[in-house]
Symmetry: C2
Subunit: 361 residues, 2 copies
């Protein structure tokens, strides 16, 4: 792997990370050949086969494996929460971070089941948090500004938050991480995710905005109206993803942009969760399209904007279980399918090894 950390990335992002190379064609060819020799009708493992080939390309190994899995959860607060866009009070962001640290949240349960580590990063929580071995203290600000009234972040803040993500993934990679799931916590953050999605794709805010944690019809209309007003106020250009992120994004979303870029640069598969995480991956891919083949769609969220992001990223989600929790739950749940794809490729017998007759017609 190139260690050229000095290359300036495309799109003028004022931050540095190793160049993101195309995924490895030769590893994919070898993996595809092996799939066709395994004891099953060609293609009969469906998405597991195509996923195994993608994993070979990402890792540059014809027989990839992922013993060390991890989820990185970026947490941040949102000024826009004061506008009543969420069904839960903003206090829940730090409370849920504590719940993550205590092991009581859904993502903890699913990570234990998957044998995955959890790294929680305070990149912008509006509270002081206790020292804890699983918590990375990297607070850039006590939450964003209300994007309905002013830019959510300053240029210095958005750059610092992306840098937090780049630093965290670099440290996890150095500790031996083989694959990363993206997770997030931030009361109000379906609002910036919807704003980002509408700004990047040019699609109507009303079609990109959902109920988040469960707002009623009135709140949903209020949320849509507010995002529309914000997009008008900020005069965003779809070709400037960093500016979109700065003005209508969030600190945890910016952190995840850094994680995504840094993971792809190190040939790690990036498993996306739902709407918020995918909005971060979308920004990363708009900054540097080379990131796209490193992305794996963990699941399809109930949030309506999620499908628009997945379509733009050309990513098919693995799971479709009507999840709408975030935290990284859908991504961590999908680790199982990544593991199944790699294991079937690696461990199944070939027709020759098992002395099984091949297709005759």
């Amino acid at each position: 792997m190139s260690k050229d950390f000095d290359q300036v990335p495309p799109n003028g992002l004022p931050l540095k990370y190793p160049p993101i190379l195309p995924i490895d064609e030769q590893a994919m060819i070898t993996a595809r050949q092996r799939q066709n020799e395994l004891t099953k009708p060609a293609g009969a493992l469906g998405r597991l086969e195509s996923l195994s080939i993608q994993l070979a390309g990402i890792t540059r190994q014809a027989r990839p494996s992922f013993p060390r899995k991890g989820v990185i959860i970026m947490a941040g607060d949102h000024g826009v929460a004061e506008a009543g866009v969420s069904a839960f009070p903003a206090d829940v962001t730090p409370q849920m971070v504590i719940n993550f640290l205590d092991g009581g949240a859904a993502v903890n349960v699913l990570a234990r089941q998957a044998g995955a580590t959890i790294t929680i990063v305070d990149v912008g929580v509006n509270a002081e948090l206790p020292t804890h071995p699983q918590l990375v203290q990297a607070k850039v600000a006590y939450g964003t500004q209300n994007l309905a009234k002013k830019p959510a972040m300053t240029q210095a803040e958005v750059e610092a938050a992306i840098q937090v993500g780049l630093d965290v993934i670099a440290a996890e990679y150095d500790r031996g991480l083989d694959i990363v799931a993206l997770g997030e916590m931030g009361i109000g953050n379906t609002t910036p995710a919807a704003a980002i999605t509408a700004a990047v794709t040019g699609r109507p805010v009303s079609e990109m905005t959902g109920r988040g944690t469960g707002v009623d019809d009135d709140r949903l209309q209020h949320k849509i109206k507010m995002i529309e007003t914000a997009l008008e106020r900020h005069q965003l250009e779809s070709t400037n993803p960093l500016e979109i992120l700065r003005k209508v994004g969030g600190l945890e979303i910016a952190g995840l942009v850094g994680v995504t870029l840094g993971a792809a640069a190190r040939h790690l598969p990036v498993v996306m969760d739902g709407f918020i995480v995918s909005a971060a991956a979308l920004i990363a891919a708009e900054i540097d399209p080379a990131v796209k083949p490193y992305l794996i769609g963990g699941h399809a969220s109930v949030e309506p904007g999620h499908q628009a992001i997945l379509a733009r990223l050309e990513v098919e989600p693995l799971l479709n279980l009507d999840l709408r929790l975030g935290e990284g739950t859908g991504a961590v749940l999908a680790f199982h399918l990544v593991e199944a794809a790699a294991r079937t490729l690696n461990e199944m017998a070939t027709f020759a090894e098992a002395a099984v007759s091949g297709k005759e017609r």
Copy 2:
């Protein structure tokens, strides 16, 4: 659990198994209440929540768990394979059974990943098979007759094959099995599955028939024509599932009918795989509709008839990964989601325990 093995089941099936009780409403109410107290927006875990409630009902435990998982693979040959309905030669049935015993097939890899046991049952393979600790030798016949020309089984054979399934699940239950996945192996067996599906649902054979392991267009048309001719010859009544099974089914399908009935009678969740296994579950549900709430849809197969079965059983599949392998692969892969559903229900903290604020609007 009732030990009344003498009750004669409904629909005149001349075999005995314990009565299948309705699933437990009180356990479901308690599980649903707990889901609403866990630290997440109500319903945010989507299908995992509804599945956890179903599992509580099936097991009659408000906090179900499944430490001992297993897949039962019934293997049998098909006289109709001589008519060229499969892309693979019939020799592949015993060859793949050996592959299962050697641990080289996809279902072995996925069962190892899931921590599930594999029980392989020779209920009708057209070859002598070696003694092996994982193989149950219970051959009823050396394959079925060609259903295009005569009834696939005699009355004695179909009853014996169902009894094999009842006996196998009883033995596995006694060894401590908590949940069962259904698997199968039998070259040519999408043909009986399509015939069963068309006969039970009354839908056109052409819409219920797919390419199985991968036949070309000509073979597919031949397969459809042959099933249509067989259904006409046998004059099946949709209200007589045992007669449908006998005349156009298969020995491994009959075995799986027995496993399904016996598992439901012991309050074990039954995780279905693809088309063939689901055709067996369909026959079981037509014989005894009380089996239906015990069924869990592992995945949606590529085979077109599978959706018709799932719709009739009112079962939503958990995974949709374009699998078309059988063996039990999709069911074993879905064990992970069953486990995730049970674990999140059992292990997540409540709002009160974690001191997280609830929904405010």
